[in-house]
């Protein structure tokens, strides 16, 4: 299983802060996790400004996700 978290406007669109997904052995890309999450939630999340993190680090959508990882999707940050 991987732990998928959503933050801010992405969290509000999907309606929950986190879901758990089973992923194929050998790992998937972040983009594939996003597609799986969209299917699970029934909400499209494709967004030019969507960002992703794996295990608390910023990653690109081509990044690889392994079983047990924590993946997060969120809009561009606006702190400071």
């Amino acid at each position: 299983m991987i732990h998928v978290k959503f933050f801010a406007s992405v969290r509000e669109r999907i309606g929950v802060g986190e879901i758990f997904l089973a992923v194929p052995e050998g790992g998937v890309t972040v983009a594939e996790v996003l597609a799986l999450a969209e299917g699970e939630a029934g909400v499209p999340l494709q967004d030019a400004h969507l960002l992703a993190a794996v295990n608390l680090q910023h990653v690109s959508f081509a990044g690889v996700v392994q079983d047990g990882d924590e993946v997060a999707f969120f809009p561009p940050v606006t702190g400071g």
């Binding site: 933050f7 400004h49 940050v77």
Partner: protein, 160 residues
């Protein structure tokens, strides 16, 4: 290097005064940025600000950029405090303090930390206005700290 991500308010100078003396021995000066909640935005009065963050990743990112600042600039130490939760206008949101022997490095590093924090630390602001709540969207102009007017989608606003 000290990083604090907290809900509570903070007193910038009390935080600096309480900074471990040994960590900043030899400093000739400090540069401190303090960011506060404004009572207006591009389009509306601001009644309050809600800040969401990503616990764990936030601290990690702030540590990462602090370490990067320490590698790139000749500084002695740095402090970052960032709040989350419910904030009122005029409340402190963030402070970045940098100590150095020569002031140029402190100015450079403080500015670097603010610039990078704004693009990498996972915080999201939501403005509470008379017309309702709305997420603050990333603004490249704000991100660059531009003092010139600038516009961006989707709110297509201009800072005067």
């Amino acid at each position: 290097m000290i990083i604090k991500v907290q809900q509570e308010d903070f007193e910038p100078m009390a935080e600096m005064a309480a900074y471990p003396v040994d960590a900043i021995a030899g400093a000739g000066g400090s540069v401190t940025f303090i960011g506060t909640v404004r009572d207006y935005s591009e389009a509306a009065d601001i009644l309050a600000m809600e800040i969401e963050h990503y616990p764990g990743m936030t601290e990690r990112e702030l540590e990462r950029i602090s370490a990067e600042a320490a590698r790139h600039y000749d500084i002695i130490d740095s402090l970052i405090i960032h709040r989350y939760g419910h904030l009122a206008p005029q409340d402190n949101i963030v402070m970045v303090a940098v100590w150095s022997r020569h002031r140029a490095a402190a100015f450079d590093a403080c500015r670097f930390l603010m610039d990078v924090l704004k693009t990498s630390a996972p915080f999201w602001k939501k403005e509470v206005t008379p017309a309702g709540v709305r997420w603050v969207t990333d603004c490249p102009g704000c991100r660059a700290g531009s003092r010139e007017g600038h516009t961006h989608a989707p709110y297509s606003h201009t800072h005067s």
